[in-house]
């Protein structure tokens, strides 16, 4: 009962971030789901089941405003999809520790660069 309201409130923050910054959401949603008792792989899968439809709505709104240019997007989709397949295959075969460390340093650098 209470979980539903927590889910409703938390996911509105996820949507806000998604519509405002075109990214993020998973970083709020996964911990929220864990708190609501959806654990491990289930929380990632369920988070994706929320983020994909929300991103579709956001993408449509962006496109309507002229903020999304499909001609810029198409060249990125194929390598992205190839990466997705590769990532799926690599999952569980690669030690996440160092990968996350490298990814964290990269994002930290990019974030600071944007802030300055």
């Amino acid at each position: 009962m209470k979980d539903k309201w927590k889910g409703l409130l938390g996911s509105s923050a996820v949507g806000l971030l998604n519509g405002l910054l075109g990214a993020g959401g998973g970083m709020i949603l996964v911990p929220l789901l864990e708190k609501l008792g959806v654990k491990g792989k289930n929380s990632h899968a369920t988070s994706l089941a929320v983020i994909v439809p929300l991103s579709a709505v956001s993408a449509f709104l962006y496109w309507r405003e002229g903020w999304l240019r499909l001609d810029q997007g198409l060249p990125l989709l194929l390598p992205g999809l190839a990466g997705g397949v590769l990532g799926g295959l690599l999952m569980g075969k690669i030690k996440l520790g160092w990968l996350k460390a490298a990814f964290g340093v990269l994002l930290l650098w990019g974030g600071i660069r944007n802030l300055l």
Binding site: P53, P79, G88, G111, L115
Partner: protein, 136 residues
């Protein structure tokens, strides 16, 4: 536009796809690259949203097959999320581009710190396991 940028863009998209599929926010990498090319922040965000769809749908198809999705909470999460998206999109239209760029920068820093914390924990645990002779 110029050859190098196309190749680097494709590489960034490939990397973002790999990271996205592994449950690491792949969007960060793609937006980072688009920021570096000097693309307008809203356009970059729009591309990232578009990018999430095919990779996310493919992953969802596998997750559904594996029965990993918790359906019972989904209507509530989608309802709250949709309201948030409408509000977020409206605010994005009101703010100057610079504010969005800074907001995204802040999000990146927060995500990065979270990733580094998890990385530290994972690497620490790996070290412990090695000491204990890799119990499995």
């Amino acid at each position: 536009m110029n050859g190098w940028n196309d190749w680097l863009g494709a590489a960034a998209a490939l990397g973002a796809g790999i990271l996205g599929a592994m449950g690491l926010g792949g969007g960060g990498v793609l937006l980072l690259w688009l920021n570096l090319t000097g693309m307008d922040q809203r356009q970059a965000q729009g591309l990232n949203l578009l990018f999430i769809l095919p990779v996310g749908l493919a992953a969802l198809w596998f997750h559904r097959k594996n029965g990993l999705i918790q359906w019972s909470l989904l209507p509530w999460l989608l309802a709250g999320g949709a309201a948030g998206v409408l509000a977020g999109h409206s605010v994005a239209g009101l703010l100057p581009e610079e504010a969005l760029r800074k907001g995204f920068g802040l999000l990146l820093v927060i995500t990065a710190l979270g990733e580094l914390k998890t990385a530290w924990r994972l690497l620490h645990r790996q070290g412990e396991e090695k000491k204990n002779g890799e119990q499995s």
